[in-house]
């Protein structure tokens, strides 16, 4: 009989670690059950996967782990609907389906030698973390790194256990901020775009990579532009409702561009060419 594999067939993966980032966000580490797949599996920062809970459904999640750290994949899940809630109910040792990696990726080859400015908000930090750890693992390949990361409150910050590794990395600065502090927060209070304006990273030989809630993006872009970043120097990763991940189901198009094939990573120069649908 002919080969029974097809585009929509997931690989099985076992959840081997769950980190509760915030009250509604968890990061899952998964290991593929089949050894050949575990060995072979490779991806680039910026790509995404279709993760499924059998019996509930599939949903799209960016890879938040870096491919420099082999043997597992990580994805962060904000509880919002049926599939994300079902994922939140899982314990370590349970099995999920994973299809991927899909999409394009952050052009890390072209970023070599450049200064990098990461600007993340809330769970928007998830895809940025993949590129960030990738660059930190190959530190000599990249110039100075600024990391701006903010959330509504300290309890909404993700990846807190990595902050020390980030701020202590060579030639790397971490700028954390929250919209509203709490009793124990001694750090900066204010929105991310304002912090970017204050620190004023230089655009010379630099690329800004941003991801976060629409309101943060909306106010961050003008700040970066005012600092002198051109549209081709600002990169983002788009969130769209996706289903098949392989350009067949017709759901994720903006004009003739399919976010699952030509994205999700785009520069602002590219986004300006697209219909203003998004």
């Amino acid at each position: 009989m002919s080969d029974t594999s097809h585009l929509y067939l997931p690989n099985l993966a076992v959840i081997d670690r769950i980190v509760e980032e915030t009250w509604d966000t968890k990061t899952f580490r998964a290991v593929f059950r089949d050894e050949p797949i575990r060995e072979r599996f490779n991806y680039h920062p910026g790509q995404f996967q279709e993760v499924s809970v059998f019996g509930v459904g599939e949903a799209t999640f960016c890879l938040t782990s870096s491919p420099t750290r082999a043997g597992f994949v990580e994805f962060s899940v904000k509880r919002a609907g049926a599939v994300t809630s079902a994922l939140h109910e899982l314990s370590e040792g349970e099995t999920v389906g994973i299809r991927g990696p899909y999409g394009n990726w952050f052009p890390h080859e072209e970023l070599k030698g450049k200064r990098l400015v990461f600007v993340g908000g809330g769970i928007g930090m998830a895809p940025l973390r993949s590129l960030l750890n990738f660059c930190l693992d190959r530190r000599e390949d990249y110039g100075h790194i600024d990391i701006f990361y903010g959330a509504r409150t300290p309890a909404d910050l993700c990846y807190t256990q990595e902050f020390d590794a980030w701020r202590n990395a060579p030639d790397t600065s971490l700028y954390l901020t929250v919209d509203r502090g709490d009793d124990r927060w001694t750090g900066k209070v204010g929105v991310v775009p304002a912090y970017v304006r204050e620190v004023a990273p230089s655009p010379d030989n630099a690329v800004a990579i941003t991801c976060g809630p629409p309101i943060m993006i909306k106010f961050t872009l003008p700040e970066l532009t005012k600092l002198g970043f051109g549209d081709a120097q600002i990169m983002t990763t788009l969130e769209m409702r996706m289903k098949c991940g392989v350009g067949k189901c017709g759901r994720c198009n903006i004009g003739h561009t399919y976010v699952c094939l030509d994205g999700p990573v785009f520069t602002y120069a590219q986004l300006r060419q697209l219909p203003s649908e998004y």
């Binding site: 009989m1 002919s2 080969d3 029974t4 594999s5 097809h6 585009l7 929509y8 067939l9 997931p10 099985l12 076992v14 499924s52 059998f54 019996g55 509930v56 459904g57 599939e58 949903a59 904000k78 919002a80 609907g81 994300t84 040792g93 349970e94 099995t95 389906g97 629409p214 969130e239 769209m240 409702r241 289903k243 098949c244 392989v246 350009g247 067949k248 189901c249 017709g250 759901r251 198009n253 903006i254 004009g255 003739h256 094939l261 219909p275 203003s276 649908e277 998004y278």
Partner: protein
């Protein structure tokens, strides 16, 4: 319309049933049938006599034999370490679809662009496509929504067909369009077509073409599609956001993937979906880039007449007219396109 390089034969209507019975011996044969009060639908034939070839093109396209309304993708059983997954089969038994209208055959080529052409091959679709032969039927009378000649098609078009039948009253003129088509006629008693047969067929084709006006120049319309134009609101305001147009459309292919739970496990399937439904692009957190029918109508028309042209050089519409006839509120894509071509009304 292509030259019938492989020639043509004549199949007498009195021999039609026995020809079909011969096909039934080796193939799964699908043809328009009438079941009770239901409209004509392409269904597997149990007996040759059930086939209905008269009349206008059926309202339900044969696309469901290539992308079914519901298609299992995989089955799963057990849980945890014992969880197993079995993929759905990709093979398909040999099938012949009879009575395919030229607009529908052409439409399959548009589905090929997406499922076979765009990046990875969808092997589930490919298996069905490879296993299926298409026997066309030229249209003598257009249905009221038809406009194939306005989008580069023809009621006697041969694109995508293995055979094309033209009804000459007591017999069919059968154009042989491929080796597979010729093979389908090989074991049948039929005479070669004569010059007068060919002339009669061509006359019928010409008459059918004459019955339709070319309404607009579809090749150029893509460039005239504008993002912020009143045409969208004018037509979309009354749109009810149902899926009638998309589900009947022979080139529409959008789908959703869902899971279903059964007593001992479950299955994952894909099913038809449409950009006309409000939920289609809505994200879990609530943001929807296409929040109203205005954006959704713009997407539908732009996708078919602009975006697909930019991607493949071919329109995603073959003028079958089903959307026109099925729309509960008479949103007529011909009117929309005429307005776009002519600029402001």
């Amino acid at each position: 319309m292509r030259q019938d390089d492989l020639g043509a034969v004549i199949l007498k209507k009195t021999d039609l049933a026995s020809w079909v019975r011969g096909l039934l011996g080796s193939y799964r044969v699908v043809a328009p049938v009438r079941e009770g009060d239901a409209p004509l639908r392409y269904r597997p034939l149990a007996v040759a006599e059930a086939m209905v070839l008269d009349g206008r093109r059926p309202l339900r396209a044969p696309k469901e034999h290539f992308i079914p309304q519901v298609e299992p993708l995989l089955a799963f059983r057990g849980s945890g370490k014992a969880l197993t997954v079995q993929p759905a089969a990709t093979g398909e038994s040999g099938t012949v679809i009879l009575g395919v209208r030229p607009c529908d055959a052409r439409a399959l080529g548009r589905l090929d662009d997406v499922f076979l052409g765009r990046k990875d091959t969808d092997t589930l679709y490919e298996g069905r496509r490879k296993a299926t032969r298409l026997v066309g039927l030229a249209c003598a009378t257009p249905s009221w929504g038809c406009f194939c000649t306005s989008v580069g098609g023809s009621p006697a078009g041969t694109e995508g067909l293995d055979l094309l039948l033209t009804d000459l009253g007591d017999r069919y003129h059968v154009s042989l369009l491929s080796d597979a088509g010729r093979a389908l006629m090989a074991d049948t008693a039929c005479e070669p077509s004569t010059e007068s047969d060919a002339a009669a067929a061509q006359a019928q084709h010409a008459a059918a073409i004459d019955r339709m006006r070319v309404l607009f120049e579809a090749e150029a319309i893509g460039e005239k599609v504008e993002w912020d134009a009143p045409v969208w609101m004018r037509h979309a305001r009354r749109c009810l956001a149902c899926g009638a147009c998309s589900f009947l459309c022979p080139t529409c292919h959008c789908f959703d993937i869902q899971d279903e739970v059964t007593a001992d496990g479950g299955l994952r399937f894909r099913c038809w979906d449409t950009c006309q439904f409000g939920e289609f692009t809505r994200m879990a957190a609530g943001h929807n880039p296409r929040p109203s029918q205005v954006e959704r109508l713009r997407q539908r028309v732009s996708h078919k007449f602009k975006y697909l042209v930019e991607e493949f050089g071919r329109m995603g519409c073959t003028g079958c007219g089903r959307c026109v006839e099925a729309c509960p509120v008479n949103i007529d894509i011909r009117s929309v396109l005429t307005e776009i071509e002519g600029g402001e009304r």
